[in-house]
């Protein structure tokens, strides 16, 4: 691994941006949040529920800008357009600050930081209706999904990479599974009947079926290898008359198939949590608009 380490060092030397773990940043933000809460710092005395509400909304909007920056090229180009007109030194700084990496850090800080104006806003409020309770629950879920997302994005890529024979893209897995199945079917051609029967009974269902996602997810969480139990079981079911090399080859194919299934679950998890997070954001946006409309209707400005 010495050469790999040297490659990594070369890459780190070229990469000019800080490469700390995102979870460390998250922990830092959480600690700052707790410290702020414990310090008992309050908002300025004149600030009522309107101002604290507006501040909460602004911080929510800041957090949401990350998504805009991520998916809307127009925004990015305009930012760059502005940067191109700044003096060279400042422009370089601006360009680095606009990297999506930086935006992600800001997103996390804003996502956690919104708790402070929200807390003030709740204290200023005149009791919570059902809508506000649901709203708070959604904010809580959003926070949980965000923290989970950070942990998933921080640790899952490494956990996937250390397993051999994994695919980088989700869309390549189906093709790889198909190739494995074809290889397994070809491997039994010309074998004795007993061997074929054992294959049909013990291996083909594994090649065609999918293990339970929950079990694979558990394997990811615990760091265990989901293939061990299956390959041990297959080792005991080897037909007596068979060619051991052929059985071992089939076992390897099953092992690779299970790894691909595991890889698929991991990749879906890697992207899937974002969908959950986005659904919660949309729900929150809808409920917040109801909340604002209600507040304006009943209390006015």
């Amino acid at each position: 691994m010495e050469a790999q380490g040297a490659l990594g060092a070369s890459i780190d030397a070229v990469r000019r941006t800080p490469q700390g773990r995102l979870s460390v940043w998250l922990a830092g933000c959480l600690a700052a949040l707790v410290a702020f809460y414990l310090s008992g710092f309050r908002h300025p005395p004149g600030w009522g529920s309107l101002r604290t509400g507006c501040l909460t909304l602004a911080v929510f909007a800041l957090a949401a800008l990350y998504r805009v920056r991520k998916r809307w090229t127009w925004w990015d180009l305009r930012t760059m357009w502005f940067g191109a007109r700044l003096p060279a030194r400042l422009g370089g700084w601006w360009r680095r600050a606009d990297r999506l990496e930086t935006w992600r850090h800001v997103h996390i800080a804003a996502g956690l930081g919104v708790m402070i104006p929200l807390w003030w806003h709740i204290q200023e409020g005149a009791g919570a209706s059902r809508l506000e309770i649901v709203l708070l629950a959604i904010v809580g879920l959003l926070l949980v999904s965000g923290v989970s997302g950070v942990l998933i994005q921080d640790f899952l890529p490494h956990a996937m990479r250390i397993r051999p024979g994994y695919e980088v893209r989700l869309e390549d897995i189906e093709g790889a599974l198909h190739d494995l199945y074809v290889e397994a079917e070809e491997a039994i051609l010309g074998r004795p009947e007993a061997f074929v029967q054992t294959y049909l009974r013990d291996i083909r269902p594994l090649m065609l079926g999918s293990p339970r996602s929950a079990a694979l997810l558990w394997a990811t969480l615990t760091g265990s290898d989901p293939t061990t139990a299956v390959t041990d079981r297959l080792a005991h079911r080897q037909p007596e008359t068979s060619d051991p090399a052929a059985w071992e080859r089939l076992t390897k194919l099953v092992e690779r198939k299970l790894r691909l299934d595991h890889n698929r679950v991991n990749l879906r998890l890697s992207r899937g949590w974002v969908s959950a997070h986005l659904v919660l954001v949309v729900l929150l946006a809808v409920l917040v608009s109801f909340h604002i409309a209600g507040a304006l209707y009943f209390a006015g400005l």
Binding site: Q4, T73, W81, R169
Partner: protein
């Protein structure tokens, strides 16, 4: 440069061209072929330059041979143009053969001293000159002398040696060309026949150890030398040297070089230092590193000048790099899959190779290279033959149908807007945008579509066009790198990648806007 194309009658042009030695022995048929080709070959023709105007600029990849027809040109000092010129080109003189014949950037600034007419023969049209045996030999001889002289000035080994050394060295040099990978130039244990300097491309140094294991020790690139151990040591080669792709080598014959080493002891002293470094390198290269180097050589990673690398320990598979590429260019030029080296993925995206096969395969010179090293397509000259896509060993060039290409270019134009970061090409047309476009501040945009030929010339529209990564030419950032939320994607020169392993030296001239600051 504001040179103007100068229309010259064929007979008059031929009269002027005959001042050049290389064209004097042309037969009637060869003359006809050359003159007929001029209107059809992109970049071939006469250009007029005003006094003091630059004809070619140092570092630019304008791969044309220049023949001075009228006036006078000179090599000027790029640091202080007021200094006297180092070489003067009178009518009939040739310059630029290093670029035209080897695909290397211009080695110096050449400016017109008086109003000057220059005939440009681009790299892809050299065949019209080389068809004549005398011209071919003359160009080859000039190329040899210029290439050797230019290289000797760059080689560290010969730095600070008197001019006399190089003058005496040149007659002992010859150029060896190799087109394939893995061709043995020097065999370990064989008697040394000469001293080599890499003129272009890469060679691989492999040594078989006492335990019979082969270890790849290093890759040598232009300006580096080998073969010194057999000349100064035992007389037998200490390691094998194989070509790592297409390469050109300067071979200096053994006896001539030994004689020069005797007369200039400083060379021998420096060579002894090189030998010590090489032997030290053997101890540093482990089996794992050797395997990594071998794999990197096979996959062409070693010669990449702007390699897109993704750290798989950080990549979350969000495909934002691909989306950003698609957003900016209308169609993604990047596939997030490819070669894996340990935890790093080298996806299928143009690597802007040191020796671009696509550029060599293009029959019209439509594949070009900027001074910064980026390889790009000049769609005006492209005929859609697809040779570049076939020649690319890494499958990073895609041919897309013309309607899809046009739509993609229009999309890019719509996003980038008018005069966004770089002034648009003067040939592009203006097109009004809708109300929304105006509100968004685009004004009247200039689409980056193919230039529309005049009706009389509109005879051929290619059915497809090549696309590939151009490092987001025209933008102050690279979309894929800039839009990676985890910092997993980065562009790096192969030599930088292997910097800590001391196995490839760096040239580091490719644009790296991300870090430029």
């Amino acid at each position: 440069m504001t040179a103007q194309s100068a229309a010259t009658a064929p007979d008059e042009l031929w009269r002027l061209l005959q001042q050049c030695d290389a064209l004097r022995t042309f037969s009637e048929r060869e003359r006809e072929a050359l003159l007929t080709a001029i209107p059809h070959e992109p970049g071939m023709g006469v250009r007029r330059f005003a006094a003091r105007e630059l004809i070619c600029r140092k570092g630019e990849y304008e791969l044309s041979l220049c023949i001075v027809l009228e006036g006078c040109a000179a090599v000027v000092n790029d640091v202080d143009p007021a200094l006297p010129p180092t070489a003067i080109f009178m009518p009939g003189s040739i310059f630029g053969e290093l670029g035209a014949m080897r695909g290397r950037p211009r080695s110096s600034d050449v400016a017109a001293l008086a109003p000057t007419l220059v005939f440009f023969v681009p790299r892809h049209a050299l065949k019209y000159l080389e068809v004549n045996e005398y011209a071919r030999n003359l160009l080859a001889e000039r190329y040899r002398e210029h290439a050797v002289r230019a290289m000797m000035h760059q080689v560290d080994l010969f730095a600070a040696l008197p001019r006399e050394f190089i003058d005496r060295l040149i007659p002992h040099c010859r150029i060896e060309r190799h087109d394939l990978r893995g061709v043995p130039v020097v065999q370990q244990g064989a008697e040394g026949t000469g001293f080599y300097i890499v003129l272009d491309g890469f060679v691989q140094v492999v040594r078989q150890r006492d335990d019979q294991q082969n270890r790849v020790l290093a890759y040598l690139r232009e300006g580096e030398c080998f073969g010194e151990m057999s000349l100064l040591g035992s007389g037998f080669a200490w390691a094998s040297v194989l070509t790592a792709g297409k390469c050109e080598l300067i071979k200096i014959d053994k006896d001539g070089f030994r004689e020069l080493c005797r007369d200039f002891p400083a060379v021998e002293q420096r060579l002894r230092e090189v030998i010590a470094r090489r032997q030290e390198q053997e101890n540093r290269v482990t089996a794992e590193l050797s395997e990594l180097l071998e794999k990197s050589g096979q996959l062409g990673i070693i010669q990449a000048e702007a390699l897109l690398v993704m750290d798989l320990d950080r990549c979350t598979g969000c495909d934002n790099c691909v989306s950003a590429c698609e957003s900016l260019h209308g169609r993604s030029r990047l596939i997030r899959n490819g070669v894996q080296i340990g935890q790093y993925l080298v996806p299928a995206a143009c690597r802007h190779c040191d020796d671009p096969k696509c550029m060599n395969a293009c029959p019209t010179g439509a594949v070009r290279r900027r001074a910064e090293g980026e390889i790009y397509f000049d769609y005006e000259a492209c005929i859609g033959c697809g040779n570049c896509a076939i020649a690319c060993p890494f499958d990073t060039i895609m041919m897309i149908d013309t309607p899809v290409f046009d739509a993609a270019q229009a999309r890019k134009s719509a996003i980038m807007g008018r005069e966004f970061f770089r002034p648009p090409a003067p040939e592009s047309r203006e097109e009004p945008v809708g109300l929304l476009g105006q509100l968004l501040g685009r004004g009247r945009r200039k689409p980056l579509t193919r230039p529309q030929p005049a009706p009389a010339e509109a005879t051929h529209v290619p059915s497809s066009y090549p696309i590939k990564c151009d490092l987001c030419d025209g933008l102050p950032f690279m979309g894929c790198v800039h839009s990676c939320p985890t910092g997993a994607a980065m562009r790096i020169e192969a030599a930088e990648l292997f910097a800590n392993l001391h196995v490839v030296t760096s040239r580091a001239h490719v644009r790296r806007v991300e870090e430029a600051g």
